[in-house]
């Protein structure tokens, strides 16, 4: 073989290039045809192709030209209980050696990994060993075992690991030409291993193909679990670690999550992201940051800012040759590959790759569940970012509802997207009865969405108009069956009550109930009676509502397939119980509903959120505000994560939350929430669609803040809306609030007229021991005091206190108002110069409010109680004690009602007017 001259090389290189571009099988044909013209050239080409095979075999130029970090003389030396045999690798992290046990007790070879880090003193060594031993407990067939960790005599830390012979997962898949489903299956093994580590509170932090090996037998083995954490110096921040550890390997953080680059906390979601990148690469052959060169800066920018292309787009978008090659490695064509990836896989990977860790799958298991569902052709839980998926599935699922859907599609555009109820269990899902429940639920939720939740956005028609048309369709459509008609009417009834159209709600719910009596399906019958019960609550017919709920609950079996109907009935039942004044039963029912939902096979964010709202509301009504406020917060967070914070349901939530805050004496926060509620409900600048109860509540909070003119205005608006909507509950609440505001304003004649209108309504609606009569007695007492009839005022105050004490004993609604009654009576006693009695009531009220308050928090109720107590003490000339009470009052009031509230000012002045004597 003679060396080729430069001239010869120049001549042959173009031919060489040409033959290298050909697939192996074409080369022989091409070469022999060329040989006919120039046999010498072909002989040279053939020998150069042999040269190529030889260089491939030798791995010529494939290794790094890097000088060894560990001196090569280490072979034969021992570290710990192991003898080093030969070096097998060298990387930025350090060098890797094959080793075996020095005492021969253990035949299997191991890998010893020296880490290029310097440990800071003995404490650093201790920490390294400690963390190493934690990782050592991570036993899983898909995780390379960590056998030992230590520090060599020369001071270099090392790890002893199970020696794994295998290939990087991406190369493995390509070489074996695995198709999409097989790749997903293999990837599931990776997920199982990562989930196991997460369950042991170990985050990998550095998942990438070179750490995910597949052995020849197809067994997946994950390497280097938690080692990124070990490499972290004491007190070093996370971003520096991610980059410097990666930096050792050339600063290309291709699998780093945005939070790693931003130096934010690393959690299991960080691994979810890296797994998303890995799945992206396995399915498309490309990195989510796109093809081409990535400088570290470009990569960081892409990871933190740029949304990756969808899988299905990326496989057809790039240059045809690489796209084709990529598809071929997945035994398909680019177009077919794109179709395979479109839809669920697009959605799953996008959810894993969310920039915000909280938007990703909550766990690796959740990601694995969705991929398994994909493999089984079941609906996945991740939601795509578009509406078409949901609407598409809905239309396919339910034909009878299409007319209504088509009618409402305009309202959908731009609206928020919630979730459909999905069955967790594949077998159960095939069950016909279950599908029925799901269908119903989907229908209800769909209606709720288009009709109530879409309401605040722009509209080409009014909601009432839409509902009336829907009602017309539901009652007139001959084609539909009675079961479906009951469903539709129930959904409409719900909508009407959302809008405060109680009379209309009553009408359709009653019709649905009557229709259901002719049906044999128990779940439909039960649902109809519970829904009707809910309608009757607003009508004020509480006894009948309770009967209907009990009837409904009796009719539903414990069959898990009708779990949602049971949940729904319990929720309505809770509403009835609370309104009836049985707070304990109200809490019990909604807690039972939550329990059933938790153990059922339904996985619905929506349902979970609704239950949280109900539970919070039940706690609030039962006076357990310390439980209610955090539950409201949780519900609001769920709602906002579902993109629903501007919806009618959010309005209801803010309303209830505001009431709890008002109750614990935080009216400033309450006012903000309540105002938001009303803004959400307001359409086109009018109150026409605002729930009158919300107007009442706003008036109540304004009164608490001393904004009396506004309070009177809103209470009057609420009264008018209540009359207009035919809502007795809104009428008596607004009358009550009006009376209080007029009393505060000193407008006794109007207060008297209002109370005269209120009393007969209450007598018609409630049994005589109901808390409402406590409220009535209290306002009548205040009126009597204002009119100068102190004896009558005292008697009425006594009656109010007695009624509330009864409520406290019965754990009934209104029990929380007892301190208020005591304070009122204290004020009346004081006016009648019975200061000793005034002090006793005030002391009792202070103690009760204190017991109910959140420790350390300011409360306007505490402020009022102290103010009243101070006055009673002052009247007895107990100046020092009075001064302390006034100062406490001022502090609480200043922080809850603001410095300008009349009570705040009064407390401040009184504190100053009672200087320390001596």
């Amino acid at each position: 073989m003679s060396p080729l001259s430069s001239e010869q090389w120049r001549a042959i290189i173009p031919y060489l290039d040409q033959v290298l571009a050909m697939p192996e099988e074409e080369r022989a044909v091409w070469l022999s045809s060329l040989a006919e013209q120039n046999s010498a050239l072909v002989a040279q080409l053939r020998s150069l192709l042999d040269e190529q095979r030889a260089s491939v075999q030798e791995g010529f130029l494939e290794c790094s030209p890097v000088p060894l970090a560990t001196p090569p003389g280490l072979a034969g030396q021992s570290v710990g209980a192991y003898t080093l045999l030969s070096q097998i690798g060298q990387g930025g992290m350090g060098s890797v050696w094959v080793a075996e046990r020095s005492d021969g007790r253990f035949e299997r070879q191991v890998a010893v990994k020296f880490l290029n880090i310097s440990l800071m003193g003995r404490a650093g060594e201790e920490r390294f060993k400690r963390e190493g031993s934690i990782l050592g407990r991570l036993a899983h067939p898909h995780i390379a075992e960590l056998l030992d960790a230590g520090v060599s005599k020369a001071g270099q830390p090392y790890l002893v690991l199970e020696h794994v012979e295998g290939d990087h997962i991406d190369r493995y898949c390509d070489q074996r030409q695995l198709d999409v489903a097989d790749r997903v299956r293999l990837f599931l093994d990776v997920l199982i291993a990562v989930a196991h580590a997460h369950a042991n509170l170990i985050v990998h932090r550095d998942l990438k193909p070179s750490n995910v090996l597949v052995r020849n037998d197809g067994q997946v083995k994950l390497l280097d679990f938690g080692i990124a954490k070990l490499l972290e110096g004491e007190g070093q921040d996370e971003a520096a670690t991610a980059l410097t550890v990666e930096g050792g390997r050339a600063m290309t953080p291709e699998y780093a999550a945005p939070e790693q680059l931003r130096g934010e906390p690393i959690t299991t979601a960080t691994d979810v992201y890296a797994l998303g990148v890995l799945l992206y690469v396995l399915l498309t052959g490309q990195h989510p940051a796109g093809p081409g060169m990535h400088t570290p800066a470009d990569l960081v920018k892409a990871i933190v800012e740029t949304e990756p292309l969808r899988l299905s787009d990326v496989v057809t978008q790039n240059k045809t040759d690489s796209a084709t090659a990529n598809a071929e490695r997945r035994i398909t064509t680019p177009e077919k590959l794109s179709r395979l990836l479109r839809g669920d896989l697009d959605t799953i990977v996008a959810k894993a790759l969310k920039k915000n860790p909280r938007e990703r799958y909550v766990s690796v298991t959740a990601l694995a569940d969705d991929l398994s569902r994909y493999l089984r052709n079941e609906p996945i839980t991740a939601r795509p970012d578009t509406l078409s998926y949901r609407a598409g599935k809905f239309v396919r699922r339910n034909r009878t509802a299409v007319a209504l859907v088509a009618l409402s599609v305009v309202a959908l555009v731009g609206g928020a997207v919630g979730t459909l109820v999905q069955a967790r269990n594949a077998r159960a899902q095939r069950d016909l009865a279950l599908r029925q429940v799901q269908r119903t639920e989907a229908l209800n939720e769909f209606h709720q969405f288009i009709l109530s939740d879409a309401a605040p956005s722009g509209r080409p028609f009014t909601v009432s108009e839409l509902l009336e048309r829907a009602e017309h369709i539901a009652t007139q459509q001959r084609a539909t069956n009675d079961t479906n008609r009951v469903d539709l009417l129930a959904a409409l009834g719900f909508q009407y009550s959302v809008l405060g159209e109680d009379a209309k709600a009553h009408r359709v719910l009653e019709e649905a109930y009557k229709l259901s009596r002719g049906l044999s399906e128990k779940s439909v019958r039960a649902q109809a009676s519970c829904n009707f019960a809910s309608g009757l609550v607003r009508e004020g017919d509480l006894a009948r509502a309770e009967t209907l709920v009990e009837e409904g609950l009796r009719e539903i079996s414990n069959d898990p397939q009708v779990a949602l109907v049971r949940v729904n009935c319990l929720r309505n039942g809770s509403e009835v119980a609370l309104e009836r004044g049985d707070a304990r039963e109200g809490v019990a029912r909604v807690e039972a509903a939550q329990e059933i939902l938790r153990h059922s096979q339904f996985d619905s964010e929506m349902e979970e959120m609704l239950i949280s709202i109900d539970l919070a509301e039940a706690y609030r009504v039962a006076g357990q505000n310390d439980k209610a406020i955090p539950t409201f917060e949780k519900a609001a967070a769920l709602m906002s994560s579902m993109g629903r914070s501007e919806t009618q349901s959010a309005g209801v939530l803010f309303n209830d939350w505001a009431l709890a805050l008002s109750k614990v004496g935080r009216p400033l926060e309450a006012e903000k929430l309540m105002r938001r509620t009303i803004e959400i409900g307001r359409v086109g600048g009018t109150d026409e669609n605002v729930d009158p109860m919300q107007l009442v509540n706003y008036a109540f909070i304004l009164r608490q803040l001393g904004r009396l003119n506004e309070a009177a205005d809103y209470a009057e608006r609420a009264y008018r809306r209540g009359k207009q909507a035919g809502s007795p509950i809104a009428i008596y609440y607004s009358l009550n609030t009006r009376a209080y505001v007029y009393l505060d304003q000193g407008d006794f004649p109007r207060a008297a007229a209002t109370l005269t209108e209120l009393e007969p309504i209450l007598r018609r609606t409630f049994p005589p021991d109901n808390a409402w009569f406590g409220r009535l007695a209290l306002s009548q007492s205040l009126l009597a005091a204002g009119e100068g009839n102190s004896q009558q005022a005292g008697l009425l105050a006594d009656r109010a206190v007695t009624l509330y004490e009864t409520a406290v004993k019965a754990h009934a609604r209104g029990a929380g108002e007892l301190p208020l009654a005591l304070l009122h009576r204290s004020a009346i006693s004081l006016a009648a110069h019975r200061s000793y009695q005034a002090e006793a009531d005030a002391v009792r009220a202070v103690a009760m409010v204190q017991a109910d308050a959140q420790p350390g928090a300011f409360s306007s109720s505490m402020g009022s109680a102290y103010l009243t107590l101070g006055r009673a003490l002052q009247a007895q000339d107990k100046r020092e004690e009075a001064r302390t009470a006034f100062r406490s009052a001022a502090e609480h009031l200043q922080n809850t009602l603001g410095p300008d509230h009349p009570d705040t000012r009064a407390a401040r002045q009184l504190a100053e007017a009672n200087p320390l004597q001596k």
Binding site: S64, V96, N116, S322
Partner: protein
């Protein structure tokens, strides 16, 4: 040094041998300085990617010399060859010192399973590369970028605005050349 890198690259492009030599030593001291600075900054035990170093060098010099500075691809063509020499000198030095020097330079593709190369073999490769540069400078440059500096095929393709497959084919051709060359040289 008065003469700017831009001017030297311009002259070297036109075949000015003296300018090419000056450019080489200017880049050599520049890269050496950068490597040292990075190490002083990051700590002695830290490893540093050669491609990262080159990117940094480019940004550094481009910022200093302004808009007239040549594009990244042209710069890298020269700088990668300089980097090769820097790496080989370093390997030789290290070998002479026996124990590890202050720093090491790793290539982009460092894979835990890959072996490092002996400094004598590196010297052979380097000589053969200089020969190849006379025949087909573009091919030699790919070896400098990929093997010595650790750029990936995709990066080189993007730099040169050709397909990744073309870069791979060129790499294959260059590798055949080097393999043959070293084998025949050693057997002589």
């Amino acid at each position: 040094m008065e003469t700017s890198i831009s001017r030297l690259i311009g002259a070297a492009d036109k075949g000015d041998v003296g300018a090419a030599d000056t450019l080489f030593s200017a880049l050599y001291s520049e890269l050496h300085r950068l490597a040292k600075r990075a190490l002083a900054h990051e700590g002695a035990a830290m490893s540093l990617g050669a491609s990262t170093l080159l990117h940094e060098a480019y940004l550094d010099m481009a910022a200093r010399e302004g808009t007239a500075f040549p594009d990244r691809a042209r710069f890298m063509g020269y700088a990668a060859r300089v980097m090769r020499n820097l790496i080989i000198d370093h390997a030789r030095e290290r070998h002479a010192q026996k124990r590890g020097g202050l720093f090491e330079i790793t290539s982009l593709d460092t894979d835990a399973m890959e072996q490092a190369v002996d400094h004598r073999e590196l010297a052979h490769i380097s000589e053969a590369l200089d020969e190849l540069a006379k025949v087909e400078p573009g091919l030699a440059e790919i070896i400098d970028l990929k093997f010595f500096c650790g750029f990936s095929f995709a990066e080189i393709a993007a730099m040169r605005k050709v397909s990744e497959r073309t870069v791979q084919r060129n790499w294959e051709t260059a590798r055949i050349y080097l393999h043959r060359k070293i084998r025949t040289d050693l057997s002589l």
